[in-house]
Subunit: 351 residues, 2 copies
DNA sequence: CGATTCGATCGAATCGATTCGACCGCCGAA
DNA sequence: TTCGGCGGTCGAATCGATTCGATCGAATCG
């Protein structure tokens, strides 16, 4: 371990050629005589040289071959979210052919976590903001300041970033109209986190006014454009358990809602659980709708009424956008359509 | 975009100091007069310089600040596996304080994927083989050849790698004894993939002899040390659906087993589904046991009989091992204990 | 047979920062 | 008064490869 690793120069010396020739022999770019190449390769083997140092290579080429993906506060939460997983998978898939790696960056967080400055010092060729769409994310400023190309998914809207959106408002509007069309009037919302500060529970005016994730806000606006002001309970993270807690809270209100609009499928599953724990049947006693269109194995035969968004494609398109940016081109922003899927968890309100 | 980004040298020139002083002003190591530092920082702001180039910094320091995590064939599969997710989360958590990033490397795969050579050219300071424990993984050779420190979880056993294991054999043995103690004699196994080649179905002698993942083999050996040779059906990946397929296959055998030992909890859930689809009740008509000890929300009130392994801790210990290796020390291999958890999915065989 | 290419190889500059050793005042201690 | 030490700054070497332009011999062509 102590001994220094062989360098290209050492290999070249041993093979009796210049470093430049040795480099060509390895990279394959440029003409090298068959015999020379073999001599170099032999020398390399003898010295235990495994190829050019990635660090030096990166510096010279100006690329590290790594793309960063900013995923919320903690990996665990990101991985529990099927939407995020599908996204990351799509990105990785699109990036794979070029040998580009995906680096997970956990965003702004609390104790023990790296500071945004530390994070922005990692050698990435581009960054994807996968799921933390606050316009004022400090990481965003740092990367933009560094001149690192940024793609944002449903995320911070800035002139410098390439944006990929889904039609959050439109989807939520279709959904709300569907629920309204069934005859519901007392509706409540189980909301995604407005920001990652761990807060949960009823959303008051101050909280509403305080900004937050774009997707969450767009969906809420659409719902209230149909039903007017409705009670909203915010979940601190997008997991089933928090949906259940939010559901319990909403269902214990004096005027129980006849329909609950959950802002994600995971929350919807939680709400359904909460309802069943209270002895309510879905959809007979309570209509529950979600958002995203993920697989919901928890629901058995039932099919969740929800808005389906093209998750995997979102990831792939993101990957392609990154590829474009790395090639020095600036792709246009994109806006993907969503569609309403009417399942078996929505029905008319009880008589 | 086209214009070159400012360099530290440019900043230094503008501030009227030498590059070395400017460097010290940024890194904070070494004494710099307050006034000088401010002059440098001002010059930097004026030139839009956001701090030292990570690539150059990496080369000089000999570190990229990135640790690679090799996760099976495709990200999607890794993320669907709660064990893997808990692991990665633990690793990230342990690595976080030092600002080290986690780079996902999808292992040896098929079309479109990067070649192992490409992958091994990424600038990583260390690599964790999180879940693909084949001794002959080509990536492993490449990284070892490069002198990159490697930590393997339940993985390839090589003198160069630091190993973190759980007591796979012991746990599986306890489990098998439990099942045997209940009186079962006709037992079958739903196995994890022996290798990532997409094969599935009954495991024949050739396949048994062909090596494969260490954890899978150890668990199988323990089971057969108790019950003798048993029928084995291999799942091509560790997901519920494949467990269900394997379950259907095992349960359609002429001599139906009274107990099925699944090599993971996800597979066990699938087997239970298959059983219920056939009208069998668990555990009255069929005993099903798993491995891992993950949360199984799919099972409702039931508790899976399984072997619980300390997943999150595994991740954290891995992270600490990596930290040690980066500090130039060589930590000792570790072997974590597991324990049997008797739930409600195992019982005596039907009369 | 001389001019022109083309293939193979080499030299040297470059990527952008870090860091070791040297240097220079200046202050306090002997 | 002089020397040791320290805060502050600078020069220059270094990290390890890539790449552009130049060179040189041999083969091709007119």
């Amino acid at each position: 371990m102590g001994e220094h690793r062989a360098t290209l120069a050492a290999v070249a010396a041993r093979a009796g050629v210049s470093p430049s020739t040795a480099s060509l022999a390895f990279s394959g770019s440029g003409p090298v005589a068959q015999s020379t190449r073999e001599r170099v390769l032999t020398a390399a083997r003898e010295l235990g040289y495994a190829g050019p140092d990635p660090l030096a290579r990166s510096l010279r080429r100006g690329r590290s071959g790594i793309v960063g993906a900013v995923v919320g506060e903690r990996l665990l939460y990101a991985f529990r979210d099927p939407v995020a997983v599908a996204l990351l998978d799509g990105i990785a898939e699109a990036l794979s052919p070029s040998g580009t790696g995906l680096l997970l960056l956990s965003g702004d967080a609390q104790h023990g976590s790296p500071t945004p400055e530390q994070v922005s010092r990692l050698p990435v060729d581009a960054v994807v903001f996968a799921m933390c769409g606050r316009d004022d994310d400090p990481l965003l400023d740092l990367f933009i300041g560094r001149g690192v190309p940024v793609v944002a998914i449903d995320g911070p809207d800035r002139p410098e970033v390439t944006l990929l959106r889904i039609d959050d408002y439109g989807g939520a509007l279709d959904l709300a109209k569907h629920v309204a069309g069934l005859g519901h009037q007392r509706v409540a919302v189980a909301a995604l986190p407005l920001r990652l500060d761990g807060r949960s529970g009823p959303v008051d005016d101050a909280r509403r006014a305080a900004g937050g994730f774009a997707d969450c806000r767009a969906r809420l606006t659409a719902t209230e454009d149909v039903f007017g002001r409705v009670p909203v309970v915010e979940a601190p993270s997008n997991v089933v358990e928090e949906g259940e807690r939010a559901g319990r809270l909403l269902l214990s209100a004096p005027e129980r809602p006849t329909a609950i609009v959950a802002q994600s499928d995971l929350l919807a599953v939680g709400v359904i659980r909460a309802a069943e724990a209270l002895g309510l049947r879905v959809p007979d006693d309570l209509t529950v709708v979600g958002y995203d269109g993920i697989d919901t194995p928890w629901l058995g035969e039932r099919v969740l009424t929800t808005v389906v968004q093209p998750m995997a494609e979102k990831g792939r398109i993101t990957g392609r956008m990154v590829t474009e940016l790395l090639a020095g081109r600036r792709p246009a922003d994109a806006n993907l359509p969503v569609h309403l899927r009417v399942g078996t968890t929505s029905g008319p309100p009880p008589a």
